[in-house]
């Protein structure tokens, strides 16, 4: 164990290691960019096939995302929940769990933040804002830990459980918004009461809607990077995701690790929801924006690395903020963005898959794929691992 730990030394990295690390990320970065370009091209084809001018549409999209100060602000505002939830996707994925429940976790985080802000306690912002954020993070975290725990205990596949928990979260949200006798909510506008000023994330730039949530997202990315790559906790997560069998052999408890990873995952998604409620809207609206689903694409394109997730979050934030202008000026429906997200995931998946074939390996090198644990055949764990056979993959662990 000690030799294993020494590899993930907690001491600061030498600059040389830093450079090698950065250099080794280049193929992944290039292929992600390639995947996005392919997706945009196919998207252009879709736009053209339905009778619109793809160039005009994309030009409007770009202007809407980066054209002026306000547009830039909107891009960052949209990127904030995407980065936070995308980080959540990444940490679960690193542990070998495919968290499609980010949307539900995000919704509950936003609802919790909105409710706490809506109560209008007489507290200073120094206490009120952190309280609301922490409560939202815990709400999302618990909602995320449930499927992790269920997978660990019963082997229930997370893809089904997280999706069911999404629908349940939507019902919880709808029920809470309707219960104006208990909570500070306004059923008429399907929202919580306006949050007290002291509970809101402050605005950062005049003339934009940019709020401090983006700072929260970037700080979260740095912390997650540190956690994943410089601590034993992160080492366990990555070890379990790379090879469950080897991790178990090294004494790492799979069940506990994936449950914790899913807690952190939901926590980040919950924060994403809270940032949107307390930063942008100033209250929680019971409306599905779908950040949690976009975050899957963000995590995949960002190759589940915090730095990559930040870049991918900015990209998808730009797509989302630009889509509004595209719809208004070029007349292309903003739903094309959802199509683009699906296309991006497909092209990333194709690149990863191709890189595992012999021809692809010589062209691209081997790219990381979804790694899930192998079966462990020991008396102690045999009960818990009867089901995860479902996902043992023949793909050899990458990197």
């Amino acid at each position: 164990m000690s030799t294993l730990q020494s590899r993930t030394s907690t001491s600061p990295r030498a600059p040389a290691t830093w450079l090698t690390q950065a250099w080794s990320a280049v193929p992944a970065l290039l292929s992600s960019v390639g995947a996005v370009v392919v997706a945009l091209l196919v998207g252009a084809l879709v736009i053209a096939l339905t009778g619109d001018d793809a160039v005009t549409a994309y030009r409007a999209l770009f202007a809407g995302a980066f054209g002026d100060r306000r547009a830039l602000g909107e891009t960052l505002v949209a990127a904030t929940p995407l980065i936070l939830a995308g980080l959540g996707f990444a940490v679960a994925f690193r542990a070998g769990v495919f968290n499609i429940g980010l949307e539900g976790q995000l919704v509950l985080g936003a609802l919790t933040a909105g409710l706490i802000g809506g109560f209008g306690f007489g507290m200073p912002a120094m206490i009120y804002l952190p309280l609301a954020l922490i409560a939202a993070a815990v709400a999302g975290g618990i909602w995320g830990a449930i499927p992790g725990f269920l997978k660990a205990k019963t082997g229930a596949h997370e893809v089904i459980t997280t999706i069911m928990l999404n629908y349940l979260a939507f019902r919880v949200s709808a029920a809470a918004i309707g219960a104006d006798d208990v909570f500070p909510v306004d059923p008429g506008s399907r929202a919580t009461e306006r949050a007290a000023e002291a509970s809101r994330l402050p605005r950062l730039l005049e003339g934009t809607r940019l709020h401090a949530g983006i700072v929260l997202a970037l700080v979260a990315a740095v912390i997650l990077w540190y956690l994943l790559f410089c601590t034993t906790f992160g080492y366990r997560i990555r070890a379990v995701g790379l090879s469950r069998g080897a991790a178990a052999y090294a004494g790492i408890r799979w069940g506990r690790t994936i449950t914790t990873a899913m807690f952190v995952s939901g926590l980040l998604a919950g924060l994403g929801g809270a940032a949107d409620a307390l930063g942008l809207q100033g209250r929680y609206y019971d409306v599905r924006v779908g950040y949690g689903f976009t975050a899957i694409a963000v995590g995949m394109v960002g190759r589940n690395h915090p730095a990559g997730v930040v870049l991918a979050g900015l990209l998808f934030g730009a797509l989302s903020s630009g889509a509004t202008r595209m719809q208004n000026t070029a007349g292309t429906s903003r739903e094309i963005v959802q199509v683009l997200q699906g296309l991006v995931i497909l092209s990333v998946a194709a690149l990863v898959a191709i890189s595992h074939l012999r021809l692809g390996q010589s062209l691209l090198g081997r790219l990381p794929s979804r790694r899930t644990g192998e079966r462990v055949r020991s008396d102690r764990t045999s009960e818990a691992v009867s089901e995860p056979e479902l996902e043992s993959r023949p793909n050899p662990p990458a990197i």
Partner: protein
């Protein structure tokens, strides 16, 4: 309470189970052949939209049904290509297809009808009485058919071999990829029929997100039914009954929270998959790629 358990509850159960049966039988075939299929939801949405749009333009619900089935099958070709030919991760591909299945209909809706919510009203498939449309008996006839195919035909045996042990199947000359393609395409077609059932059978229009997780519930029914057609039918009936209970409670004005009743099928799915399937045995080769090195 005697008002509650009526013929109406029974027919509502059949009506609400039928689309789940279509999707679940498709999912079952795909999973039995070794391809995980979380894209059922996307296939259903594509089927529902294409069937409604097809009916709108042709004026004939049966042509709409055909178009919906074909479109969903087309979507399943993508899933098959990524999962079988490219040997990619089947969950990732399924997730992408679910996003596309939600996005493309919404995009085309805007394009073709210039509305955001749903298509204009279209003609419906004929009914056979009791509010049930002509697809309901088809759904329930499908179950013995799938059972027969899987357990009493040569093709079914090969499908099972592809799902249980692709390498062994390959070594005795079974073209695993071909059988998997056929099963995934069948799952697309069947989920497409399930979607069409919703838009031109049950309702007479397509609305955005109208499947409301039925594709996932169907998949849960397959797992709950331990990958067996008859047991899967039982699971879909259970989920259908949970939805019917809500309709019934609403009609009788029972003092039960609507939110709780809407949540019931999802809650049931969650409990079913965690509490009752601990001894479920999925096809051993599920998610494994055949050897072609």
């Amino acid at each position: 309470m005697s008002d509650f358990f009526t013929i109406a509850l029974l027919t509502a159960t059949l009506r609400l189970s039928a689309p789940l049966v279509f999707a679940a039988m498709g999912g079952l075939l795909s999973e039995r052949s070794g391809v995980m299929n979380i894209a059922l939801e996307g296939f259903m949405l594509v089927g529902a939209f294409s069937a409604a749009a097809g009916t709108y333009y042709t004026g004939r619900p049966f042509l709409g049904l055909l178009i919906g089935t074909g479109a969903a099958m087309l979507a399943s070709v993508i899933h098959a290509f990524w999962s079988i030919t490219l040997r990619g991760d089947q969950i990732v591909a399924g997730t992408a297809l679910n996003l596309l299945g939600a996005g493309i209909p919404a995009f085309l809706l805007q394009r073709l009808f210039e509305t955001a919510g749903g298509t204009p009203a279209v003609a419906r498939l004929p009914t056979i009485g009791g509010g049930l449309n002509v697809l309901v008996p088809v759904a329930f006839l499908l179950v013995p058919l799938v059972h027969y195919l899987l357990f009493h035909t040569r093709a079914g045996l090969r499908i099972q071999a592809a799902g249980e042990h692709p390498h062994a199947a390959e070594s005795v000359g079974v073209d695993v990829a071909r059988y998997r393609y056929a099963c995934v395409l069948a799952s697309g077609a069947l989920a497409g029929v399930g979607g069409a059932y919703l838009s031109i059978g049950d309702l007479s229009q397509f609305t955005v997100g109208m499947t409301a997780g039925r594709g996932f519930i169907a998949l849960a029914a397959v797992i709950f039914g331990n990958w067996n057609p008859v047991a899967t039918l039982g699971a879909t009936l259970l989920f259908g009954a949970a939805q019917a209970a809500r309709v019934q409670a609403q009609a009788l004005n029972l003092p039960i929270s609507q939110d709780l009743l809407i949540a019931l099928p999802y809650l049931l799915t969650l409990i079913a998959i965690t509490g009752l399937v601990r001894h479920a045995t999925p096809p051993a080769g599920l998610g494994r790629h055949a050897a072609t090195e």
